[in-house]
Amino acid sequence: MIDKLKIENVDLYYGEFQALKNINMNIQENEITAFIGPSGCGKSTFLKTLNRMNDLIEGVKITGKILLDGVDIYKDMDATVLRRRVGMVFQKPNPFPMSIYENVAYGPKTHGIKNKAKLDEIVEQSLRSAAMWDEVKDRLKKSALGLSGGQQQRLCIARAFSVNPEVILLDEPTSALDPISTMKIEDLLIEIKNNYTIVIVTHNMQQATRISDKTAFFLHGEIIEFDETERLFSMPKNKKTEDYITGRFG
């Protein structure tokens, strides 16, 4: 197994407040890694450090090292290059207020692809990968805001595919969706994981057990336990993990 991301001694402060405490973990290629834990424990914060979305927030200070294929993403990589390689899908579906086509074509266009045929191909490919080509192929010119919540989120996943990323980060991507949409997205993630590295924050422990290979349990900005998903849920080593997964708090 190849370590796609190596996280070494990462601390993160929002001003005075320390939101992440000494995070160490390796995230492996072609696996789904899940982050679980009660809300406010730092899952989203940590996810955002992986593609430097925290750069956009004022007063954030990060120490430690995060390596993507061995390269320090905070020292030796441009944020725009990093975010192209490490894509992100947000908790609330956020398609741009444009057509479905333009939503998916936006990323490649920004990265300099102007050829119409090439863009058409990327749009189709991305929508196919997100398993929604057949649903939307006849309405590509329609506004993306007319789609249902579940479709919007899959469009956002297609949009993430469009720039050909290596890692995809998803922050509770199904928390606003109905069970059928949720299932579609879960199936999709399992299907594509052979070609990507996937990191997913989830509030839902069943979801973690259904789709992930490894799971990290966060609490108060720390990783309490990180293990094979099966082992973590069946034989947690830490008392706090056990309390959380058996529903005694959180």
């Binding site: 956020n94 936006y106 993430a160």
Partner: protein, 293 residues
Amino acid sequence: MQNIKRTNFSENIMQAIFFLSAFISVLAVLAICLFLFMRGIPAIAEIGFMDFIFNEKWGPTNTPASYGILSMIVGSIYVTAGAIVIGVPIGLMCAIFLAEFCPDNVYKFVKPAVNLLAGIPSIIYGFFGMEVVVPFVRENMGGNGYSIMSASLILGIMILPTIISISESSIRAVPDNYAEGSYGLGATKEETVFKVVLPAAKSGVLTSIILGIGRAVGETMAVVMVAGNAVMPLDKIELFKPIRTLTTNIVTEMSYASGLHESALISTGVVLFVFIIILNASLSLIKSKAQRN
């Protein structure tokens, strides 16, 4: 018990005041419309609609008199278009700067300056135009300075605060998660602002432009001081030559006009009013379209 009664009483009073205020506003609009149309329409009928709107000859004191305002309609359209060409790009760039790029310590100065621009009376703009803009145009661009160009420059500045403040607030109102989505794809700040945030603020930006047009079309005092006010035959209208607009036609002649001449000036006001109604209708259209999305 007494308390309840008092509340009801004061509530009723408040309601009456609200109603009265709304009633007075509506009454004012109705009274103005009534005045304009009652005085203006008969004159248009007497002159003949086609002769009034599509004739370029304005000579109320000639014999026989002629009352064509086409030259002023075109004049109003030209100075307004000029104002838009000058004011919209500058205003929009300024709004984008203020909303997205401006450091706090610069914002502290620029924002009040823009607000001040909005509060300056039009007579002051007019003076500035006469003393600074007109000589500048005369010396650097040609003609005697009193011109479409000067009027456009002054109006372009006058509509800046409208364009800037409404565009800025509509850019700020764009949800952050659109920008996040764009950054998440590896876009830069500039790409995000111009390709995602600005298009998302489109309806607010359009609104600001239309309100700017309304301000420019209706502006009188500043224009009369810099435009030269000569009625130009259509084929003689040029950028660096004088021009008369609908508003300046009224203000230049109202003091001595009487009879059909006076009524024809009020009819000029009717035409101006129709312009404003069209602008307001397009505003409602934009709003309802924005709501549907």
